[in-house]
Symmetry: C2
Subunit: 133 residues, 2 copies
């Protein structure tokens, strides 16, 4: 289990129980929508407010602790920032896996072809997982 106490303090943010529970939840579940996060949080903090979750998610986005993943059809989910990676998603059960792909070749090709300086490649593959097939 990751502990974000120090990371938060390094960014001059207080390591409140609510914040640590958010990073813990993301660490455990991998990818979570705001709703899913709220469902988990309310069990630990019976009077937590959605406002607190939004405020902290936005703060953590600004400080790059976490990242947003926009998915086709589904709600946006959030994940702890780690090495750059792509996602594969099951359209039936909603399961999301990380996959590490080397997209350098594609990026280079497109970069020269389109005259763009590309800094990021967001790839989401969708389909049906083994269990749902």
């Amino acid at each position: 289990m990751n502990n974000y106490t120090d990371t938060l303090r390094k960014h001059n943010l207080k390591a409140t129980p609510q914040r640590l529970a958010i990073t813990d939840s993301l660490c455990m579940h991998g990818h979570m929508s705001i709703d899913a996060l709220y469902d988990v949080m309310i069990k630990k903090f019976s009077s937590i407010s959605l406002a607190t979750i939004y405020k902290n998610i936005n703060l953590m986005l600004e400080n790059a602790f976490i990242q947003e993943v926009k998915l086709p059809n589904l709600k946006t989910v959030y994940e702890l920032t780690k090495h750059s990676h792509s996602h594969i998603m099951c359209e039936k059960c909603g399961k999301i896996n990380d996959i590490t792909l080397d997209l350098k070749a594609i990026v280079n090709t497109v970069s020269s072809l389109e005259n763009f300086e590309i800094s990021k490649a967001d790839l989401v593959l969708s389909g049906v997982c083994k269990n749902c097939a």
Copy 2:
């Protein structure tokens, strides 16, 4: 210029001026957010309602005339459905280009690796375009 009169009728949808203006706008502009579409439409139909735009966009999505493109940081945009393709986006000016890439190799690799039946690959490259550099 594409004409969607027949396409609409084939799906038992009436070819109203508003609907044709939506497909025309998307054809001309390529990718549009709801706001951008509204701005264009209000010039042709001074009393058009946002509700009409939403209803028609949703109808066209259901009938697969158009597709949703979720972009990092930006609002979702819509485009006429054509051959499968990826997108490249300028983070400075917001310009979006279509690019045709062969992702078969990647899809096949991931497919067997993750035991997924992959049906779709949504790729958005972000960076800075020549003009903004």
